[in-house]
Amino acid sequence: MAQASLPIEPEPRPGSSARARPGWLGRLGVGTSVGDGAFRVTTALVAATVVLALIAIFAELARASSLSLEAFGLDFITSQNWDPVRDEFGALPFIYGTLVSSLIALLLAVPVGIGTAIFLSELAPEWIAKPLGFLVELLAAVPSVVYGLWGIFFLAPVLREHVQPFLASTLGILPIFQGPHLGFGMLAGGIILAIMILPTISSVSREVLRAVPGIYREGALALGATHWEAIRTAVLPHARSGLVGGVILGLGRALGETMAITMVIGNRPEIDLSWFAPSYTMASVIANEFTEATGDLYLAALAEIGLLLLVVSVALNVVARLLVWRVGRLPSGARV
């Protein structure tokens, strides 16, 4: 292969014979190790900046939110009162909006995502699995703001004209499907998030299923199991913790997702049981109000919401990675 054209020359020196003699540093026994030592130190220092950057993000957000942390303490996450004019800040409506929209996203994306992964890795022949898997991964490539644009001009009108009247007429006794049909609101936000976390869940699940040794399936099939029974009794139990990891990674993405959901959720800081009603998420309130925040306490309150978001999504990310590592490995280079 590439061996024929190795890009190294043994550095002929003026006056040296064909067989290279070590330079004076080399004769002292330090020639190569100085270079090697310097190389190791340089790359180590650069690598350490990654760690420093992460620590700095935590430290800086904690510092920026210190005013709000002192002023409100735990009340910050239990109070519903978000009133910048009176300098009163309670983040509960945003926490509620983030949690419920992410929950809707999981309800929709988990069955579809894991079903897709099972289809792609267990059932589909190669010639279907490859292009289909490719398309699902492209979902992750579309920028968030483009999903938001699509949400405003396509998804929200469709929800308002067709989906919400249908849900209200069939499942209208449930409080989550009551109220005026606006299109924009919690449901729209949850659906947009579901689309955006679907590729995360399906590609991690696919990777995890692929890591299950083929002999498990063959054993079950040889005992007379149907295809689905083999998957259910032999493959899924082996992959379970990895699948849960994939779902948690998806949840982490849903919590931190900003643009698309800001554009469709309606941005009203009120807790409403109905999924048709407008809501507000933690990431959205930062995106909308950060540049307009006047006053140090206001800015600190928004930074504290950012800090909460950071801590929760990092914790979820760590847990998810531990779960996935137990089974297989994440697709390399994936930003999940």
Partner: protein, 282 residues
């Protein structure tokens, strides 16, 4: 009796397989819907003015997004300038000294960092750069994007270096070449095309990022070439226009989305095809 249970099992099997197939189809529906809308609505707004003119004031028809196009290129360029050397060197460290304690910590940090919501990176850069310099700037936007790229570039470099056969290193060392030169001139050079495609994927990702730019690069209705001035970018412009009440701005938002999606998908698909090609060749 035996037959009935067999039939039932077979039926369940078919039902589940059908459900999985439908799930896979459902998964790609949104992709086609988004691409269809972006293409059909965006094509109408594309014209020469879109690529060459500045935005017009509210109420005036026409104008373009030339400044946002250039702005996105500048921001992504800045991000690469910061993230590429750092990420590649950090990745080299991870691959070459993979057993060291620091490597474990760095690897873990990079993974954790890739899970940090991009909006919080925006806050971080705001308090660090924007507050200390006193204004929104292209530089701040570039730093924010670089922080998003950094973990991806680091881990991709590491993974691709690990794929280079150890025999190449042994051959180099056997010729008496210093270890670090073997790393740089044999290992890294062999992995370079792969690393380049990894960087392409990272670029495709940050080119569409909006949230971290909102309060770092901010926006600019005019040409903002300087590093210490606010700068326009395609994603932020799409957002601003999409949530505005003006018909003409909506049209331009779709056109900008078409340009952005084309850019991102071309980068993404090219990188994936190249990676697949290389893996097959190996």
């Amino acid at each position: 009796m035996e037959d009935a249970s067999y039939m039932r099992r077979k039926l369940v099997d078919h039902a589940v397989r059908g459900a999985c197939f439908i799930a896979a189809l459902l998964a790609v529906v949104p992709l086609f819907s988004v691409l269809y809308y972006v293409a059909s609505k965006g094509a109408g707004g594309l014209n020469l003015a879109f690529f060459t003119e500045l935005p017009k004031p509210v109420g005036e028809e026409g104008g373009g997004m030339a400044n946002a196009l250039v702005g996105t290129l500048e921001l992504v360029g800045l991000a690469c300038l910061f993230a590429m050397p750092l990420g590649v060197l950090a990745g080299i460290y991870l691959a070459e000294f993979r057993e060291s304690k620091l490597a474990t910590v760095v690897r873990f940090s990079a993974d954790v960092m890739s899970g940090v919501p991009s909006i919080t990176i925006g806050i971080f850069v705001y308090t660090l750069v924007v507050l200390s310099t006193g204004h929104f700037s292209a530089l701040a936007g570039g730093i924010a994007l670089a922080l998003i790229m950094l973990p991806t570039v680091t881990r991709t470099t590491e993974e691709l270096l690990k794929l280079v056969p150890e025999e190449l290193r042994e051959a180099g060392l056997g010729l008496g070449v210093a270890k670090w030169r073997v790393t740089m001139r044999v290992m890294v050079r062999t992995a370079l095309p792969g690393i380049a495609t990894g960087v392409m994927l990272a670029i495709a990702r940050v080119a569409g990022e909006t949230a971290p730019l909102l309060f770092t690069a901010f926006n600019n209705r005019f040409w903002g070439g300087a590093l210490d001035e606010p700068i326009a970018s395609l994603p932020v412009q799409i957002y601003t226009y999409a949530v505005s009440p003006y018909e003409d701005w909506h049209r331009q938002a779709w056109a900008a989305a078409l340009v952005l999606v084309t850019m991102v998908l071309v980068l993404n698909v090219t990188a994936r095809v190249l990676v697949r090609h290389r893996v097959r060749a190996r």
